[in-house]
């Protein structure tokens, strides 16, 4: 029983995550401002991390968690760099 719940919960979670990724990708593509795109990319990273977590739960493999961990830890670096570039005109000053 609980296994069925888990399977369907995962399906629902993945569905919503995929929809969220679609929305983020839409922002990323359409913009209109650079800030929107950067936010879109950041959201995409967060959603990708969550999607990998659900993969991990589904397959029972911890390797997915580790990739998710690396995204969580380092995924924001690109966002910070982009934000800094927008704000100050250069990444490292």
């Amino acid at each position: 029983m609980s296994a069925t719940i888990l399977v369907w919960a995962l399906v629902v979670a993945q569905t919503f995550l995929a929809i969220a990724m679609g929305c983020a990708a839409f922002r990323l593509l359409i913009g209109p401002r650079a800030q929107d795109r950067i936010l879109g990319l950041d959201t995409l990273y967060v959603n990708a991390m969550l999607l990998l977590l659900t993969f991990g739960i589904r397959t029972g493999s911890t390797l997915y968690f580790e990739i998710a961990l690396v995204i969580a830890l380092l995924g924001f670096v690109a966002t910070v760099a982009l934000a800094k570039f927008l704000m100050r005109g250069e990444v490292i000053e």
Binding site: Q14, A34, L44, L63, Y64, L69, L74, V77, A81
Partner: protein, 998 residues
């Protein structure tokens, strides 16, 4: 076996000495000389100890496995002939070291000199001791390089630079030809092993490729030994310090060519081609060199041309293709080395004392330096072939050999007359050397009065000259046994009878000698007036000058032809270049498809892959649908990036991030977690890197000249580009599809999967392949990575931004204006406030990320991770600190020396490879076992982990070096608007300053 150990030492000692000498402090003349002398002496003693093992045709052989699969092993082999050369190299090396100690002035940077000299000694020993042809060519080229460095030692003089360049160009190109020739020989014989090549003479000579191989090998040998028509580099090399001329350009390096000829004679000699090519080159060189030597005004010029002539004599003897000729050639190599080295040293003493080498200005020096004069006279007499000296004996054998009948031809008939004439020339220039310098009235216009001569400087000359005398008077007792050993090594059991005696009775060779001596004296008397008139150059040769031809062809190749090539094929615009590259790749792929037929390419792609996939699984299907959504988004991002790339670089960059993430998820889903990790990190680092560069790209042209903008052609061009892009993209997709949808052929991957654990001790197959099975490739790759990082760094040091990006970015100007408006000087508040909270978090994350990096590294052998990924993670940690605090903030607190990281990484990797030698395994063999550590648990301890550590260190160093070099552009070019910001901005920041200091 101690003998093979000694042999390894003979070769390794000079290189070790070269390294040590290079790192000694400057101006330590005595230490350097002691070191070099000790190395040479040790080599000599070792060679002496090895002598019993090489007599009577025996030899010593030792082999270290290098790449056994390719037949490349480090083989050292010493037979009697190699032994003779080893003694010559180390013995004369010892004397030259002693001589150089007093010859070099205290102002010269002798560290460099002795280091190169020892390096040369090692390379030369490498040539003579090689038992593998490829290895021989390697050391061959190494001698060319050290010769280049030594000729150009006084690099402030243009003559030295030109001479060095010419010598390198000629000898190194010859070396390349030799390499090709050796490869052909290896192809014919099926092995590069010298011993196997030497016994396969018949097979080589009867092969179709014999002539090309012979020509290429001869090109190598003749350029090295300065034979016609490549003789011109040797006189130019006389710009080297005299010890170098005495060592390299008389006794050793130029002998390498004739050494090789003798060495390969059993395998390649004995044909008409050999007789004609080698014999003719030798004869022309012998006569031409002697003729040119007469008319030189420079002492060293006389000696250089005489060396050319004597090498021609040896080449001619080898070309005559008879065992007796080989005996005479080997004997003359010994003799020439002794008398010519002593003559060079004498010339150096004269130069050292009087300040000039011009024969026209020198005269009557006998009164000023009687000892040197006496020694030089004896040596010059040996060079002329005067009886009771060693030169006479080998010349006698030479004459005897020229008189004997060989292939019946014009060359053979004319030989005795031509060589007598050339020998006459050599008597003339020897006489001129003695008479012009040491006799006559006292010198009047010397640049300086001779200071007292350091007595040790004469000792090497005296030793060499006494050797000339001893060998000349008691040949059979002194040189006899050694000559026999050397000859037996080359000719094997069928050594012809020869006698080393001073007096053979009245014979034809003796008459030829007498004729040459008398004729030479008469010729000198006749030419004296002309020679002292001070004319430069040799009469009769006019413009027929190989040096001129060489210069012309160099100019043609490096300037005119290159320029034409660039004009024809080159472009400075990126678009045509990329169009060409992509187009060529596309056509190549299409051609392959066409040749192998479509049925083999795409046709039945689908049937192997998912045909037998199990029953319909709604959950899996749904996941696949969503995954398809991710791909769609990723593809849209990629297309969007391409679309925006021209005018909205930032947007394109962000979109690329989206596409990369989609790829990363795909990798993760299809069970390639290590690829996903790598992709992710590369994605992040690349984004930061491009952002750093984006700041310096020129801005978009706001106004495009619409009226002159040809719409039709631009549409045409863009349409074409679109077509190319679409074709290439679709083609690549098709290839990827074709590969993925078929069952993998039984390829090499199974081998790796099966052996990864049993032989490499790791379960992460990719990592085991990288650091173990294909460790050699990885070593090459990280070397390239390091070189690229250094190149980027070097290029950016002189980087000048486009005029419109020199100004500070708009945002910063605006914010500092707002800063200025604030009350009571809260300047810099905008910068301090930006990223205040994220900055703090980023600083706190520093140790966390490092821990992750260490974790990824440690378990890389068994699970996804490894040196490359860990290195990238580590460099991200550094970049974050730079972003959070700014360059100055970080560099005030952290000392990062990326260049040292790179060096350390390479050393780690290389030493791991060398380490496996110590246990008697081939280069880069991995060793592994598991070890229980307290607290941490079972840890794999493979030697490959150290190699991986090297990869890690290098990746950190390279990434950080590139990023920091880019980041430093901002503090280099523009200064902060605030005048009260302290000054050290203009100074180079610590990390890079230290990097530069290395």
């Amino acid at each position: 076996m101690p003998d093979s150990m000694f042999l390894t030492f003979v070769l390794a000692l000079p290189f070790a000495g070269c390294l040590v000498a290079g790192f000694l402090p400057a101006n330590t003349r005595n230490v350097e000389a002691w070191l070099a002398g000790a190395v040479a002496l040790a080599g000599l003693i070792l060679a002496g100890a090895l002598y019993p093992a090489v007599t009577g045709g025996a030899m010593i052989r030792t082999e270290v496995e290098w790449l056994p699969a390719l037949g490349l092993n480090l083989t050292l082999r010493m037979d009697g002939f190699a032994w003779m050369f080893t003694v010559l190299i180390t013995g004369i090396g010892l004397l030259v070291t002693l001589y150089a100690r007093y010859y070099m002035s205290p102002e010269d940077p002798v560290t460099r000199f002795f280091s190169y000299l020892l390096g040369f000694m090692g390379s030369m020993l490498g040539i003579v001791l090689s038992g593998n042809l490829i290895q021989l060519v390697f050391f061959w080229e190494l001698t060319s390089i050290f010769s280049f460095l030594l000729i150009g030692y006084w690099h402030h003089s243009a003559k030295a630079r030109d001479g060095a360049r010419m010598a390198l160009t000629v000898t190194a190109s010859g070396g390349l030809c030799l390499l090709v020739g050796v490869l052909i020989v290896g192809h014919i014989v099926g092995s590069y092993d010298l011993d196997r090549v030497l016994v396969s003479g018949n097979q080589i000579r009867s092969h179709d490729l014999y002539l090309p191989a012979l020509l290429l090998i001869l090109l190598g040998a003749l350029t090295k030994s300065a034979q016609f028509p490549f003789h011109f580099w040797l006189p130019q090399a006389m710009a080297a310090p005299t010890p170098v001329s005495a060592y390299l350009h008389s006794a050793t390096m130029v002998k390498a060519g004739v050494f090789l000829l003798v060495r390969l004679w059993p395998a390649m000699g004995g044909t008409d081609a050999w007789f004609w090519i080698v014999g003719t080159a030798g004869l022309i060189t012998f006569a031409l060199g002697a003729y040119l030597a007469i008319f030189q005004q420079d002492l060293k010029g006389v000696l250089a041309n005489s060396t050319i002539s004597h090498l021609g004599l040896i080449t001619l003897l080898i070309g005559l293709d008879s065992p007796l000729g080989i005996v005479a050639a080997i004997f003359h190599m010994m003799n020439h080395a002794t008398f010519k080295a002593s003559l060079f040293m004498a010339a150096g003493i004269i130069d050292h004392e009087t300040g000039t080498r011009d024969i026209r200005r020198l005269s009557g020096l006998y009164r000023l330096m009687p000892i040197t004069a006496t020694l030089a006279m004896v040596a010059a007499a040996a060079m002329a072939g005067v009886p009771l000296l060693n030169g006479f004996l080998s010349k006698e054998m030479f004459f005897a050999e020229t008189v004997a009948e060989h292939v019946d031809s014009i060359l053979d008939d004319a030989l005795p007359y031509v060589v007598t004439l050339a020998a006459m020339f050599s008597v003339t220039y020897s006489l001129r050397f003695i008479h012009g310098v040491f006799f006559g009235p006292p010198p009047t216009d010397l640049p300086r009065q001779p200071p007292p001569l350091p007595s040790w400087m004469v000792v090497p000359v005296a030793l060499l000259v006494s050797a000339c005398l001893l060998v000349g008077i008691f040949p059979a007792a002194t040189a006899g046994p050694f000559l026999d050993t050397a000859v037996r090594a080359v000719l094997g059991s069928d050594v012809p009878p020869y006698s080393l005696k001073v007096w053979h009775g009245i014979t034809v060779p003796l008459l030829m000698s007498l004729a040459a001596l008398t004729g030479g004296v008469l010729l000198y008397r006749a030419l004296r007036g002309y020679l002292s008139s001070g004319a430069e150059g040799s009469p009769g040769l006019g413009r027929l000058d190989s040096q001129r031809i060489f210069d012309w062809s160099m100019v043609f190749l490096s300037w005119r032809a290159a320029k034409t090539g660039v004009d024809l094929l080159g472009t400075r615009r990126l678009q045509p270049q990329i169009r060409l590259v992509v187009g060529a790749a596309f056509v190549a792929a299409l051609w392959t498809l066409y040749r192998h037929g479509p049925h083999n390419g795409l046709h039945y792609g689908l049937h192997a892959g998912h045909a037998e996939s199990s029953a319909f699984d709604p959950v899996l299907a749904l996941v696949l649908v969503w995954l398809a959504g991710v791909w769609l988004a990723g593809a849209a991002c990629a297309v969007g990036a391409a679309y925006q790339a021209k005018y909205h670089r930032l947007a394109a960059l962000i979109l690329m991030g989206g596409a990369g993430l989609a790829v990363c998820i795909t990798f993760a889903w299809y069970s390639a977690p290590d690829l996903a990790l790598t992709q992710l990190l590369v994605e992040i680092v690349t984004t930061v890197l491009i952002l750093l560069g984006l700041r310096w790209l020129p801005k978009r042209f706001e106004t495009i000249d619409v009226e002159n903008y040809r719409v039709a052609t631009s549409w045409f061009r863009r349409g074409g580009d679109l077509a190319i892009a679409a074709a290439a993209g679709l083609g690549l997709s098709a290839v990827a599809y074709a590969v993925m949808t078929r069952s993998a052929p039984d390829s090499i991957s199974r081998f790796f999967l099966e052996r990864a654990y049993t032989e490499g001790g790791g379960t992460n197959v990719v990592n085991v392949i990288l650091v173990d099975f294909r460790g050699f490739d990885t070593l090459g790759e990280i070397t390239v990575l390091g070189a690229v990082a250094l190149t980027v760094y070097a290029l950016l040091r002189r980087f000048r931004p486009a005029p419109d990006s020199i100004e500070r970015p708009e945002q910063q100007i605006r914010e500092s204006e707002r800063d200025d408006a604030l009350p009571d000087g809260q300047s810099g508040v905008a910068l301090a406030d930006s990223l205040l909270v994220p900055g703090l978090i980023m600083r706190l994350l520093y140790p966390v990320i490092m821990t992750v990096a260490v974790y990824l590294f440690m378990r890389g052998h068994d699970l996804p991770g490894g040196g490359f990924v860990a290195g990238l993670t580590m460099s991200v940690a550094f970049i974050l600190q730079y972003m959070a605090g700014g360059t100055r903030w970080v560099e005030a607190r952290l000392t990062i020396l990326p260049v040292r990281w790179i060096a350390l990484g390479l050393l780690f990797a290389a030493f791991t490879g060398i380490g496996s030698w110590l246990y008697g395994y081939p280069f880069l063999t991995s060793y592994f076992r598991y070890e229980d550590l307290p607290l941490i648990g079972t840890v794999p301890l493979a030697s490959a982990v150290v190699f991986d550590l090297g990869v890690f260190t290098l990746v950190v160093g390279a990434t950080v070096l590139i990023l920091i070099a880019l980041a430093h552009q901002s503090i280099r070019t523009h200064r902060p608007a605030k005048a009260d910001v302290p000054a050290p901005i203009a100074a180079p920041a610590p990390a890079l300053a230290q990097a530069e200091g290395q």
